[in-house]
Structures are given as structure tokens and as C-alpha cells.
């Protein structure tokens, strides 16, 4: 393993953007062009009207991630991009598990296992039941291995969503990276929430 690989760790990139067709590919290209694999990508509206939020997870060195974030932020429709290590964010992934209702009904132990793993039933039909759980990768993985022997029919897991731990810490971080960041917070957020009052498409 090279030094580069040792330095590599999971980073959560948070990007605030205009809601615009084509932007996803513009952002994805920034990674693919450098042959960087996106491990998880989630995009959804944010708490601010007409602003979307991307959560992107990659495993890279901080040096690379910092440069990537600058390239992302350079895109016209991107308002702001940040990156954080796993320690700096609260993150969750949602998983759904489909198992045969008969098996579940017969094996009470399964129900107990589910309870112990914080899962809950979202659909119970005659032929199958769907359980849901949220958590970190190891947690959702754990339930797969538990359910597999009982005839797991189908499994799906969502992309990661992450929230930056505390705003104070976030602010501190911003100041810490101030040298590397072009703008000041006030300016960046100046037009947020003003919607149609500013030139938008």
C-alpha cells in the first residue's frame, strides 16, 4: 500500500446546488474524469426552497477531496460544497428487507432478532413482509446475515444521508479552512431563501 492509500478515508461531501437538469452529470464528471469511484450519492431538496443538497461519499485522501470540492464549487449552479470525515457527521442509510411471511410467522426468533436490530415491519402481506432498518453500514449488513438463513427474498439499501454534527463545530471548521476557501460565509448565504427576488431560472 502506498502512502496515498494509507491516508485515504471516507469523506462526506455536501453540495448545495440550484435545482437544474444536467447538474448531476456535471458533478459526476468531476469524479469520473479523475477515475474516482463514488461510493454513495444522494440528492434531494434541502430545507431551502429550490436548493438541492447532494451527499456524496468517496474514499480518498484529504488533499484530493479538498481539490475536488473546489472543482465542484466552481460549477455555476453550485452554491457551496463542503467535505467532512465520518466523525464530523451524523449519517444514516436506510435498508429494506423482504422475507417470507410464513417463515417469519413460524420462527418467532426472527422477530426477536429484528427487534434487537432496531428493524420494523413496513408491510405485512400474506406472502411476504418488508422490514426496514436504518443505521451505519455494519448495522444494516448485520441484519442481512441474520435474515439470509431464513430465506431473504430481496434487499435494498439507500444512499447515505449525512448531517454535519454541530453548527459550532462546522463554523470552526470553516474558519480553520478559511485560507483554502475563497468566500466568506455571509456572502455565500446572502441570497439563500430569497427565491425569485434574485435572477434565477
Amino acid at each position: 500500500m502506498s502512502n496515498q492509500d494509507i491516508e485515504k478515508q471516507e469523506f462526506n461531501i455536501t453540495v448545495y446546488t440550484e435545482n437544474q437538469i444536467g447538474l448531476l452529470s456535471r458533478i459526476a464528471i468531476i469524479f469520473s474524469r479523475r477515475k474516482i469511484n463514488i461510493e454513495s450519492l444522494n440528492t434531494s431538496p434541502s430545507e431551502i426552497d429550490k436548493i438541492h443538497r447532494f451527499n456524496i461519499v468517496i474514499t480518498e485522501s484529504e488533499e484530493v477531496v479538498r481539490k475536488l470540492v473546489r472543482q465542484i464549487e466552481k460549477q455555476v449552479e453550485v452554491l457551496k460544497a463542503y467535505y467532512h470525515t465520518n466523525e464530523d457527521v451524523i449519517w444514516q442509510e436506510l435498508a429494506l428487507y423482504k422475507v417470507s411471511t410464513d417463515v417469519i410467522a413460524e420462527k418467532v426468533s426472527v422477530e426477536r432478532l429484528l427487534r434487537e436490530n432496531g428493524a420494523r415491519a413496513v408491510v405485512i402481506r400474506k406472502d411476504y413482509t418488508v422490514f426496514e432498518t436504518t443505521g451505519h453500514r455494519e448495522e444494516t449488513d448485520n441484519l442481512i446475515s441474520i435474515l439470509q438463513p431464513y430465506g431473504l427474498i430481496e434487499f435494498v439499501r439507500s444512499a447515505r444521508v449525512a448531517i454535519i454534527k454541530d453548527s459550532d463545530g462546522f463554523n470552526r471548521k470553516l474558519r480553520e479552512f478559511e485560507r483554502l476557501e475563497p468566500g466568506e460565509e455571509v456572502i455565500e448565504n446572502e441570497y439563500l431563501n430569497q427565491g425569485e427576488k434574485v435572477f434565477t431560472m
Binding site: 444536467g22 456535471r26 466552481k74 452554491l79 456572502i187 430569497q194
Partner: protein, 578 residues
């Protein structure tokens, strides 16, 4: 690049007028100050061309011979005029022919707006005739692109396109307009230029703390060294730059695209950086104590091996694009901002100095280079002519006043090394992408962008054959472009590498050419071919005094190399004189 401070508006119509998307587009272009459009029509852009028929008196459309020629012309126009180059192309093959030029404009930060026609919106994604996913194809090579499917969007989108293309770090923008949107009538309420997009900050905020830190470093430096790039020209900061250089007394060297920002003969101008740059500035990069990089992006052709680049120096990097700072070379003090704003702030805080001894070190290296390379290149005793002596003669006649447009190869490096520039916006070349075929169309555009200046294109026998069909554009427009083909009967630069690094295995670099002079004559362009040194001054004079375009083919030494050279993978200090 000047950013529009005020917002212009078309004379507000008392009531909104009903116009087609095509008419709205052309009205928008007029408000943006567009006078020249380079383009090529086709089915999917016919409504726009139909509307253009009535705008003949306001918009000068230049029919090029290939869309690649169109966008290179747009780039040449932008580079000499400082305005936005505008290009029209039809859908599918017309649009894909723009890709090389878009990539070129993107890497060289050239403001161009391309308008492409697209199939009807209801046909999108159906593999309709000449439908291509232009937006996705051009995404990696544009600063911004957008597809318009409704005429109502046109004014706002065009306003954004121009604002984005020219503000901050300039770049190419492509707007793809479906045919229905070109035809569709809508209520046009006048056109307002854009000067703000909420998610887009063209200029980073200048931080005075870093200006102060930079000034302190500069004031303490014993061997400071300035390296500048095109950012100075793009920011129209030539005066501010000169003031900074002169007050600080610091020797300054340029990247290929920075050439001309201060005159070649300026006493503090110590030459060209990079792979085929001058000896002194390359070697001394690794000796300076403070390196001040202005509007340049540390391209690998400039830095050579990064791990051995200026390791001893503290680096002050001034750039408008925050992503450039620390991208390749870590800066000690980053100065984000438009150098037109940051340079005067810095100049105010620095001490007036003369670094005479340090400057002399550069001159000593220059002497070495003159003896080893320059003298013989410019005053050869060989029977055949060298590229260098052609440029030297040209300098004597044009007195550094001409716009020099170069293609890519040995002639490009020779021209950039030896051409004298007294004026800014005089060196038009494909720096970042290295696009062969760039020069002929770019020279056409350069002339439209600077009609009162002499424009001389210097092209290799290989590159000329990539876009020579644009001779047709010259013929039809009657534009005055002087063309010098430096014919070494080889794809010279590749041959040089093969000679130096592949044991002279000349694999497919031997290129045959047509009779260029007769070819030009078929396009009604007078020309001459010379192979005797004695004819050179007269031939150049004939070319330059000819009213209208002229093609001069100069036969030069077949196997001549461009030196000095930093071999790939070497440090700039390992630059070879032979």
C-alpha cells in the same frame, strides 16, 4: 475581462411585442454588443438563419468552411478584441464539430458563446435525424451549457450565457436551442443583461490579510521572481501589472499565453518559461526565494517535474479561480481575486527596489543561451533557412506591432520564443490543448477582432493541412490575413521527440504537402514560395505590403530542433541547451 457594471436594457417596448425565439436571440446578441458571428447553417438552426437574413446590417455573419473553423475563429476574435466570440452551428454533426474548439477555449479561458440548433423538443431522445446529446457531450468542455426548449427562456438564458462566458475566469458556453423554441412566438418584453446569478461568484473576495502577508514576503525577499500568465491579459490588468513589476524591480517571466502583457523588450522581462522557454527563467525558478505567480495555473509544460519545482521558494499565487490555488503548486500565501484589483493593493504595500545583482544573474544565463542556441538559430550559416531567422526578419518589419497567430508544433515554440510583442493581445495560440489546425481559422477571427492591426499566422506544413479549407472563408470575406507556412516537410515537433527520445525512429512524421501556393491561388489568394535566404526580406515585405491576404511558404531546415528544452519528467533546472 471587464464585467458589465451596468445593466443594459433594450429600449423598453411600450407593450411586449410578439416575436419568434430566433428574433429574440438576435435582439439579445445586439444588446450584448455582438457585431460578428462565425457560423455554418443546417436544418436544425434554419429558423435562426432565416431571422438573420433580416439582420444583415447589424450582425456580420461569417460563413466558415467547417464548424471547427467557426469556433477557432470565435476564439481568435475573442483573444484580440477582448469581447465574447459568437458561433452558430446546426445540430448533430455541426454541434459535434465544435467540441475541439470548446475544449481549447475551456483550457485557455477564452470567452465564447456557441449557439447550436437542436431537433424539435418532442423528438429529443428518439434518435431523430441529426439529434445528438450535445449538452452531455459538451459538459466537460464548457464553463456552462444549457438546452432551451421554450422560446420564453431565450432572453434570460442568453443573458446568463454572456455573463458566465465573460465574467470571472472566462470560458466557453454552449446554448442548444430546439427548433420549436426557435420558431415559437412569445411576448418579448425586452432584454436585460445579467449581472448576478445567486449560485455563481465570478470573483472571490479579496482578503487584505493575504495582501499584507504577500507584501511582507516580497519586501523581505532577496531573490524574488515573478511569473505571469494570461490572467493579466484576461483581467485587462496590463497597466497594473507593469506598475507592480516596475516598483518592485523584480525580474518577470511569462507563460506562452501571458506573452505581450508587458513588451518583450522591457528591462524586467526576462523571457519565457516552460518546456521550450528560456534558460535563465527556468533554471532560476529553482533558485529564487519568493515566487510570485500571477494569473497562471502551473501547467505541467511550465513546471516540468512538480516534486522538483521551486521547492526552495515561498510561493505567492494570485488567481481569480480559487480552484487553481494549491492545485499543482502549494502556495505560501494565496491571493484570491481579480489581479486588476489585487495588484494595485499589493503595489501600494511593497517597497520600491532594484534587484540589480539578481537581475544580472538572468542576463548571464541569457548570454549563455545566446551563445549556445539563439545566435545560430537567428543567424544561421547553414544553406537552409531556420524558423528562427524567419521570425527575426518578421520582427524587423512588423516592429512588434503585429498580432501573431501560431499553430502547434516547432514553429509555435520558435515564434513564441522569438517574436517581439509591443502590445498586449498580440499572441494568439492554442496553449493548453495544443490544437493543430487552430491557427488559420483563429487568424481569421483575430483579424475581425482587431481590424486595424496586421495579423500574421505562422503555421506548420502539418497543421495547415488540418483546416486549410478556411482559405475559402478568406476568399469569400476578402479578409486580410498573412499566412506564413514554415515547411520542414515533417511533423516537426513529433520528429524532434523521436530524434531525442526514440532513437530517431521516425514513425509516420514524414508528411507530403500539396503545392500550397497553387492551392492558395485556387482560392484567389496570392502567394509565394521561397527556399533561399536572400529572398526572405523581400518576400516578407511583399507579403506585408500586399493589400489583402497572402500566403508565404518558407522552406526551412528539415531536421532542426527547438532548444532549450526541458525533457518530459525532468526538473526545469535540468533544461537542456542542446
Amino acid at each position: 475581462m471587464e464585467v458589465a457594471q451596468e445593466t443594459l436594457t433594450t429600449p423598453a417596448p411600450t407593450t411586449a411585442v410578439e416575436v419568434s425565439g430566433s428574433v429574440a436571440l438576435l435582439e439579445a446578441l445586439i444588446v450584448e454588443g455582438v457585431d460578428t458571428i462565425f457560423g455554418y447553417p443546417g436544418g436544425a438552426i434554419m429558423p435562426i438563419y432565416d431571422a438573420l437574413f433580416d439582420y444583415n446590417d447589424k450582425l456580420n455573419h461569417i460563413l466558415v468552411r467547417h464548424e471547427q473553423g467557426g469556433i477557432h475563429a470565435g476564439q481568435g476574435y475573442a483573444r484580440t478584441s477582448g469581447k465574447v466570440g459568437v458561433v452558430f452551428a446546426t445540430s448533430g454533426p455541426g454541434a459535434t464539430n465544435l467540441v475541439t474548439g470548446l475544449a481549447d477555449a475551456q483550457i485557455d479561458s477564452t470567452p465564447v458563446v456557441c449557439i447550436t440548433g437542436q431537433v424539435f423538443a418532442h423528438l429529443l431522445g428518439t434518435d431523430a435525424f441529426q439529434e445528438t446529446d450535445v449538452i452531455n457531450i459538451t459538459t466537460p468542455v464548457t464553463k456552462w451549457n444549457y438546452q432551451v426548449t421554450d422560446a420564453n427562456e431565450i432572453p434570460e438564458v442568453i443573458a446568463k450565457a454572456f455573463y458566465i462566458a465573460k465574467s470571472g475566469r472566462p470560458g466557453p458556453v454552449l446554448i442548444d436551442i430546439t427548433k420549436n423554441a426557435q420558431i415559437q412566438k412569445f411576448n418579448f418584453e425586452g432584454y436585460t443583461q445579467c449581472n448576478h446569478i445567486r449560485s455563481y461568484r465570478p470573483k472571490p473576495i479579496v482578503r487584505t490579510q493575504y495582501i499584507q502577508e504577500a507584501a511582507e514576503l516580497i519586501n523581505q525577499a532577496k531573490k524574488p521572481f515573478i511569473i505571469w500568465g494570461q490572467g493579466v491579459i484576461l483581467g485587462s490588468a496590463e497597466q497594473e501589472f507593469k506598475a507592480f513589476v516596475e516598483k518592485s524591480g523584480i525580474p518577470a517571466a511569462w507563460t506562452v499565453l501571458g506573452a505581450g502583457a508587458i513588451p518583450t523588450e522591457h528591462p524586467l522581462n526576462v523571457g519565457m518559461l516552460g518546456m521550450h522557454g528560456n534558460y535563465g527563467p527556468n533554471v532560476l525558478t529553482n533558485e529564487c526565494d519568493v515566487l510570485i505567480a500571477i494569473g497562471m495555473r502551473f501547467d505541467d509544460r511550465v513546471t516540468g517535474r512538480l516534486d522538483k519545482y521551486a521547492k526552495q521558494a515561498k510561493v505567492v499565487h494570485l488567481d481569480i479561480d480559487p480552484a487553481e490555488i494549491d492545485k499543482n503548486v502549494k502556495s505560501t500565501v494565496p491571493v484570491w481575486g481579480d489581479c486588476k484589483e489585487t495588484l494595485p493593493m499589493l503595489t501600494k504595500l511593497i517597497d520600491e527596489k532594484k534587484h540589480t545583482e539578481w537581475l544580472n544573474t538572468f542576463n548571464e544565463y541569457t548570454q549563455k543561451e545566446v551563445e549556445a542556441v539563439i545566435h545560430d538559430e537567428l543567424n544561421p550559416t547553414t544553406p537552409e533557412m531556420t524558423m528562427g531567422e524567419v521570425i527575426k526578419q518578421l520582427n524587423e518589419i512588423t516592429k512588434g506591432e503585429a498580432v501573431i497567430v501560431t499553430d502547434v508544433g516547432q514553429h509555435q515554440m520558435v515564434a513564441c520564443r522569438y517574436a517581439k510583442f509591443n502590445k498586449t493581445r498580440s499572441n494568439v495560440t492554442s496553449g493548453g490543448l495544443g490544437t493543430m489546425g487552430f491557427a488559420l481559422p483563429a487568424a481569421i477571427g483575430a483579424k475581425f477582432g482587431a481590424q486595424d492591426r496586421a495579423v500574421v499566422a505562422i503555421i506548420g506544413d502539418g497543421g495547415f493541412q488540418m483546416t486549410l479549407q478556411e482559405l475559402g472563408t478568406i476568399m469569400q470575406t476578402g479578409i486580410d490575413v498573412k499566412i506564413i507556412i514554415l515547411n520542414n516537410r515533417f511533423l516537426g515537433m513529433v520528429r524532434q521527440w523521436q530524434e531525442l527520445f526514440n532513437e530517431r525512429r521516425y514513425s509516420f512524421v514524414d508528411i507530403q504537402s500539396p503545392d500550397f501556393v497553387r492551392l492558395a491561388s485556387a482560392y484567389n489568394i496570392p502567394g509565394k514560395r521561397i527556399d533561399d535566404r536572400a529572398e526572405l526580406p523581400a518576400a516578407l515585405n511583399e507579403m506585408l505590403s500586399n493589400k489583402g491576404s497572402f500566403l508565404l511558404e518558407v522552406m526551412v531546415t528539415k531536421e532542426n530542433n527547438v532548444f532549450p528544452m526541458v525533457p518530459q519528467g525532468c526538473s526545469v533546472a535540468e533544461i537542456r541547451l542542446k
